[in-house]
Amino acid sequence: MKNKFSLFVVVIFLSFCFVIFYKGLNTPNNYTPKVNEKKNIPTFKAKDFYSNNYVNSDNIFEENTFYIVNIWASWCVPCRTEHPLLMQLSKNQSIKLIGLNYRDNFNNAKKFIDDFGNPYSRILIDKDGTLGVEFGAYGVPETFLIDKNKNIIKKFVGPINQEIVNEIKLIIK
C-alpha cells in the first residue's frame, strides 16, 4: 500500500515536470509586454516638429476621434516599409495620425517626410526617447491605436502590415 502511494506521488511529480517543460517548449523565450491591455493615454508636453513650440497632450487628442500614434525615425529601416500603409490609413477620414519622431536628426527626418509623404496630422519630437516610454514603447517602429475615449486599445510592435491596417479599419468603422 505504501509502495503504491510512493509510486503514485512519483508519477504525479514527473507528469507535473513534463507539463511544465512541454509548455516551456511552446512559449517564446523573449518577453513582450501585453499588447491588448486598455490604458489611458499619458499626459505629456512635447515639441511640435514644424513649429518647435511645446504642445500639451490635452490639446492634441480630442474626444470622439480615433487616433494612431506611430513612433518612427528616418534611420529606422522597417519604418520605410510601413510608411505606404500609414499613407493609406491617413486617407481615412475617421482617424488621425500622430507621428512621434524618435531620437532623430531634424534634417534627416524632414527629408524622410518630403521623400515619402506626410501621413501625420501632427508630428512630435521625442529627442531622447523618454516620450516613447510614457506610451510604453521599447523600440521603433511601434504603433498605438487610441479610441474615442482617449484610451490606448491596441499596440503593434514592429512595422505594421496590410493585415494590421485591415484590423484597424475594422475597429474604427
Partner: protein, 122 residues
C-alpha cells in the same frame, strides 16, 4: 576678513552638501537600474545594457529621481508601462503567489518529514 572666512565656510558647506545629494541620487539610480530588466537584451539589467532602450530608461529614471519620485514609485511607473516582468524583484500578487509561497511550503513539508522521521526513530 571675517566676512570672507564666513563666506568661504558657507560656500564649501553648501558645495559639499550638494555633492553628497548627487552621490545619494547616483547610488539610488544605480540600485534601481540594476533591478530593471532590459527588454532588448533580455537577461541583462538596464544598468549593464548599452541598448537604446536601456539608455532611454537610464534617462527616465534620472528624470524621475530629480522630480522627487521614490524608488517604489519609479518601479510602479515602469510596471504600468511594461508589466511586472520588467522588474527583477517580483512583487507578491495573484500571479506570483506560487513563486513566493512554494519554497515556504516545501520548507515546511521537508521540516515536517524530518520531524516525523526523528520522532519515529525515538
Amino acid at each position: 576678513m571675517k566676512i570672507l572666512k564666513i563666506f568661504i565656510i558657507l560656500f564649501s558647506v553648501t558645495n559639499f552638501s550638494e555633492l553628497k545629494s548627487d552621490e545619494v541620487n547616483d547610488v539610488l539610480k544605480n540600485k534601481i537600474l540594476k533591478n530593471i530588466r532590459c527588454l532588448i537584451c533580455q537577461g541583462q539589467s538596464v544598468y549593464d545594457s548599452e541598448s537604446e532602450f536601456a539608455s532611454t530608461i537610464k534617462l527616465v529614471v534620472e528624470k524621475k529621481i530629480n522630480e522627487g519620485m521614490e524608488e517604489g514609485q519609479i518601479y510602479k511607473f515602469l510596471r504600468q508601462k511594461y508589466g511586472d516582468w520588467v522588474i527583477y524583484d517580483p512583487q507578491l500578487n495573484k500571479n506570483t503567489y506560487v513563486l513566493w509561497l512554494l519554497p515556504l511550503l516545501l520548507f515546511l513539508l521537508g521540516g515536517a518529514i524530518i520531524f516525523k522521521k526523528l520522532n519515529h526513530k525515538k
